[in-house]
């Protein structure tokens, strides 16, 4: 266990293991995404009140769920890089931010498109939507803050602190629909007790959520690999890799 943890600190090892993981995970992810979308959009019944417009749930909910989970990944990576000064944790934290921002943006846009026919408005300042917008700004803030520093170490420290402070927003987003009166409905998928979404609609949704988690992992690994190559461009292992690629 500890050797695995220590090996994670080695850039060439991380680069090669992430390559192996991606070779398997990427095709699985794409198949799962395609299957989930076809299943959700074509082979489920329409909702008894919303008709077909509810189908946006198959993009909206997975994007939102993974955007929240991705923030924890970013904050925990930030904490590890603060405490143990692990370079690879810093790389992971930096790689999380743009992916999380993209997912949050997707969740906000699809929610807005669904809101117009369902609620009758594109946007309303209720607790869930506003806290989700804050999440988008936190992600973009981490991206911007990292670029604002010339010194990578100082940038990593500042971003780690920002992502740790922003972590308080995640439970607020999650519980906002229960704590306050909001326009957004409470969660349909319940961890305890029966979900208030029909099983025939729930299974493709669970498949899409898993596919989005896998997609997040793939994007994270690809981002980290690109960042590793850039940071280690002058080292022997990258030079050797570049020569190999050049020959083949």
């Amino acid at each position: 266990m500890w050797t695995f943890f220590h090996k994670l600190g080695s850039p060439p090892w991380l680069y090669s293991i992430s390559g192996t993981i991606l070779r398997w995970l990427l095709p699985i992810t794409l198949v799962a995404l395609a299957a989930g979308i076809v299943w959700g959009l074509l082979f489920t019944a329409p909702d008894f009140r919303q008709g077909n417009s509810y189908r946006i749930i198959y993009i909206h909910v997975p994007a939102a769920v993974v955007a929240l989970a991705g923030y924890y990944v970013m904050a925990i990576a930030g904490a590890i890089s603060l405490i143990w000064k692990m370079k690879m944790a810093d790389v992971a934290m930096k790689a999380c931010a743009p992916i999380g921002a993209a997912l949050t943006f997707i969740a906000l846009v699809t929610g807005s498109i669904w809101g117009k026919p369902t609620w009758g408005t594109w946007w309303v300042w209720d607790a869930r939507i506003t806290s989700m917008l804050i999440l988008l700004f936190l992600y973009l803030g981490v991206v911007a803050l990292y670029e604002a520093y010339d010194n990578k170490e100082a940038a990593g420290k500042a971003c780690a602190v920002l992502s740790l402070v922003g972590m308080v927003n995640i439970p607020i987003i999650y519980k906002s629909v229960d704590w306050w009166y909001s326009l957004h409905q409470p969660a349909s998928i319940k961890f305890t007790g029966e979900s208030s979404i029909d099983p025939s609609m729930l299974y493709p949704l669970l498949l899409m959520i898993s596919a989005f988690y896998a997609l997040f992992t793939c994007c994270l690994l690809m981002n980290m690999r690109a960042e590793l190559l850039e940071r280690e461009a002058r080292t022997n292992w990258v030079q050797r890799l570049a020569k190999q690629e050049g020959r083949s």
Binding site: A45, Y54, P117, G120, W125, L164, M167, W179, L183
Partner: protein, 149 residues
């Protein structure tokens, strides 16, 4: 654990706890403002300021929707089963607006205690099911929330 790392771990914990406490206090102080709407019971208790723009949310009372013959004027009652607020609205209602469903109306309370709404939004609940399942539930005497009717 190395003492320096232990110190940094404590610092991280401090950052998380301190920012949570700060944001927690702010949201606690602003809890009234974070709510999107007043439930009818709070309006009846006089907690909603008259003449100011507010939102009232609740269920559209069964049998309360009355449409005008020659304009887009609609009258209905919003209820939370403790109190109800009469609403007047002139405009197009969202597709999901219906009796027995949730809605949020924004506008001002006039002197008669009627909410003159400028916008009405439909509130969707967390229940999703195919139409056949909804029909079957209704036939067996349950509503879509699983309550016996």
């Amino acid at each position: 654990m190395h003492p320096v790392r232990k110190q940094r771990l404590l610092l991280v914990l401090f950052i998380v706890l301190f920012s949570s406490a700060a944001i927690g206090l702010v949201t606690y102080a602003l809890r009234g403002n974070i709510n999107l709407f007043f439930p009818p019971a709070e309006v009846a208790a006089g907690m909603a300021p008259p003449g100011q723009p507010i939102r009232v949310g609740g269920m559209v009372a069964e049998g309360s929707v009355r449409r005008s013959e020659d304009s887009l004027l609609v009258r209905f009652d919003l209820t939370d089963f403790q109190a109800s607020v009469p609403v007047e609205y002139e405009g197009i209602l969202p597709d999901l607006f219906d009796e027995g469903q949730g809605a949020v109306a924004s506008g001002r309370l006039n002197a008669r205690g009627v909410l003159e709404a400028t916008e009405v939004l439909a509130k969707h609940d967390e229940n999703y099911m195919p139409p056949e399942v909804a029909d079957a539930l209704e036939k067996s005497g349950y509503d879509h929330k699983g309550n016996k009717q």
